[in-house]
């Protein structure tokens, strides 16, 4: 699987009448600084812009691949697939949207869960797949996270969740909303068991996901420049009818306002997570 999904924005690349046919595959435009960068350079750099340090969204499988010790990831609950409890239909039926996301991402749902080791430290790991319906949390995402946390309690291992989500999944209505309650309740039990939970907020983490598992980490890490918030910037702008401050809802802004513990660059995540897991481990 390629690291990037081809995106619409990539259409506005430099105008050259005789640009090579393979241009789209060779170049990528940075979401943050708009620089056009050679694709291979950025891929070698863990999908981080070498010019401005913007961290592109990483497909969940790739994230796991470059994070955990080789061969240690054992996936859980890969067979859980979404139902359609409300028979929801907008311009497309919900099952159709699900199917399309399954085809583009190769995943059954918007999250991958499993156990792994990071620099030898055992961990229960969940990673959101943003390309699957905006990483939205419906029943399957909530159930998989809850099962992961329950297994963590059973096996007495810490939990790490990489968030990348627009929030709750509209198409499952109230069931999606209640996944916030469900996952938070599981985290309450994890806390009672004195096991650490580290949340890693990546670009973007908003809505019901930030207002549940996202902001509940004992330690909260953010990737540089990640958009993190409850309401989306457009909704806020429409509500207050004013311009938003520079850097608003970016990781650095949240750090300044005391909402995250630390910002860690992608290349340092593995080491930082391993160290935190080791230091927070409950030996008794």
């Amino acid at each position: 699987m390629s690291w990037f999904k081809r995106r619409e924005e990539e259409k506005d690349r430099p105008t050259s009448t005789e640009r090579p046919k393979s241009f789209d595959h060779l170049w990528v435009k940075c979401n943050s600084c708009n620089e056009i960068i050679y694709r291979k350079v950025i891929e070698r750099n863990l999908l981080v812009c070498p010019k401005c340090n913007y961290h592109f969204q990483l497909p969940a499988r790739k994230r796991i691949e470059c994070l955990v010790d080789p061969g240690t990831f054992i996936e859980y609950d890969a067979h859980l697939a979404p139902a359609d409890p409300l028979s929801f239909k907008d311009s497309k039926r919900y099952p159709q949207r699900v199917k399309e996301s399954q085809e583009t991402t190769g995943q059954k749902e918007a999250i991958l869960c499993g156990e792994a080791r990071i620099e030898g430290e055992p961990v229960m790991l969940a990673v959101f797949e943003f390309n699957f319906m905006g990483g939205s949390m419906g029943s399957v995402v909530g159930e998989k996270i809850t099962r992961l946390i329950e297994r963590a309690i059973e096996k007495r291992v810490g939990v790490v969740i990489f968030c990348a989500s627009g929030g709750a999944r509209m198409q499952e209505g109230i069931f999606s909303l209640m996944q916030m309650a469900k996952t938070s309740a599981a985290l309450a039990r994890l806390q009672e068991a004195r096991l650490p939970y580290i949340s890693v907020l990546t670009d973007p983490t908003t809505g019901g996901v930030s207002a549940s598992i996202g902001m509940l980490g004992n330690v909260i890490i953010a990737e540089p420049k990640a958009m993190i918030g409850f309401a989306g910037p457009r909704v806020i702008k429409d509500t207050i009818k004013a311009e938003l401050p520079e850097g608003f809802q970016r990781a650095e802004y949240l750090l300044q306002h005391g909402m995250v513990d630390l910002i860690v660059e992608r290349k340092d995540l593995r080491r930082t997570l391993a160290l935190l897991l080791k230091m927070l481990k409950n030996e008794s």
């Binding site: 890969a78 067979h79 859980l80 697939a81 979404p82 139902a83 409890p85 409300l86 239909k89 907008d90 311009s91 029943s139 399957v140 909530g142 159930e143 709750a168 999944r169 509209m170 499952e172 209505g173 109230i174 069931f175 999606s176 909303l177 209640m178 996944q179 916030m180 309650a181 469900k182 938070s184 309740a185 599981a186 309450a188 806390q191 009672e192 019901g208 930030s210 207002a211 549940s212 598992i213 996202g214 902001m215 509940l216 993190i228 918030g229 409850f230 309401a231 989306g232 909704v235 806020i236 509500t239 207050i240 004013a242 938003l244 401050p245 608003f248 809802q249 306002h257 005391g258 909402m259």
Partner: protein, 328 residues
């Protein structure tokens, strides 16, 4: 007297006005006039039943948001022998969008936490239309802890379009405030009873809504997103879209009871709670009393286990067998 009415209430209000007019003309005994009034009243009754037995999701949404609909402050006044409001989150400020305090209810102390939308235009502005900032949720959290410390049950009343989307709200951690409340309610060692009295707007509602029992008034709503918000994203066409969205989201009390997400629907007086607020308050009082008695009887560990199971079990998904996966 009806102060405001919705489009679909209009034929009812016209009939009512006509009956009022005729009654004012009535001097002494006038059999013809009496007969006319009686027939109009019958028609009114029939029409009301007809309209209210066929409400769409959008019409119920409008009822849930009706400006004359009894607000939390009304129930606080009607239901409790005493109420002492407690203010502030001890961190930053006091949020008028959430009312909290101690009350006496049938001889026991309850900690009450409720969204307050405001009963008129001026109060609505003061209450920020019931859209809390983080301070509101942190006040709620403080009061929940107070309840736990002194072993008093918590009653929460939900009525909000949602948590406020603003700069200050984000800077002071709207998401964190909501998330922390969810986790805290999950293992708060005291019974929690939640009542949706009007609008249950998404995470901003849930943030005080993880009750051992969740009850909804018949014409209240509870949704992951407002019909307008959903329509803006999925249907573009705002006017028609929000009506489709309101039906699609299955946000009415009856829908949610049918989906097994809430525990009871409290019937409203014909025409809605705003037509007979006192009558509504009596029904609410009966339901609170009944559920509290049941919850208070339960062993605390058992109660917490049940609360966990309650939320743990919400969700629908397909557990595909490995064999089926291989077929794909």
């Amino acid at each position: 007297m009806v102060r405001h009415y919705l489009d679909f209430e209009k034929p009812l209000v016209e009939l009512e006005n006509e009956i009022d007019r005729l009654k004012r003309f009535q001097k002494g005994r006038d059999h013809a006039l009496e007969e006319q009034i009686r027939r109009l009243e019958e028609r009114l009754d029939r029409l009301r039943k007809e309209i209210f037995s066929n409400l769409t999701g959008w019409q119920i949404t409008q009822l849930a948001r009706h400006i004359d609909r009894p607000k939390a402050s009304f129930y606080i006044q009607e239901l409790f022998d005493q109420f002492i409001e407690l203010h502030g989150d001890r961190v930053y400020g006091d949020d008028p969008a959430i009312i909290g305090g101690l009350s006496l209810f049938s001889g026991r102390t309850l900690v009450v936490i409720a969204h307050q939308k405001g009963a008129d235009v001026r109060e609505m502005a003061y209450r920020n239309f019931g859209m809390p900032h983080p301070e509101g949720y942190r006040k709620a959290l403080r009061l929940m802890k107070l309840a736990e410390l002194f072993r008093k049950p918590v009653l929460t009343m939900i009525d909000t379009p949602g948590a406020f989307p603003g700069i200050g709200a984000e800077e002071r951690g709207q998401a964190e405030a909501i998330a922390r409340n969810l986790k805290t309610m999950a293992h708060l060692r005291i019974p929690i009873l939640t009542l949706v009295i009007g609008e249950g707007g998404s995470g901003g509602a849930l943030a005080i809504g993880m009750g051992d029992r969740i009850l909804m008034l018949e014409y209240s709503i509870y949704s992951v997103i407002s019909p307008e918000g959903c329509a803006a994203i999925l249907w573009k066409d705002g006017e028609k879209g929000k009506a489709i969205a309101a039906d699609s989201l299955k946000l009415t009390a009856r829908d949610l009871y049918g989906l097994g997400v809430i525990d009871e629907v409290i019937e409203e007086p014909l025409g809605g709670a705003h037509r007979d607020p006192q009558g509504m308050a009596l029904r609410v009082k009966e339901a609170i009393e009944r559920h509290l008695k049941e919850l208070e009887r339960m062993d605390m560990d058992q109660l917490l286990k049940k609360r966990y199971e309650k939320f743990r079990s919400i969700g629908t998904f397909i557990e595909e067998s490995m064999g089926m996966e291989a077929d794909e």
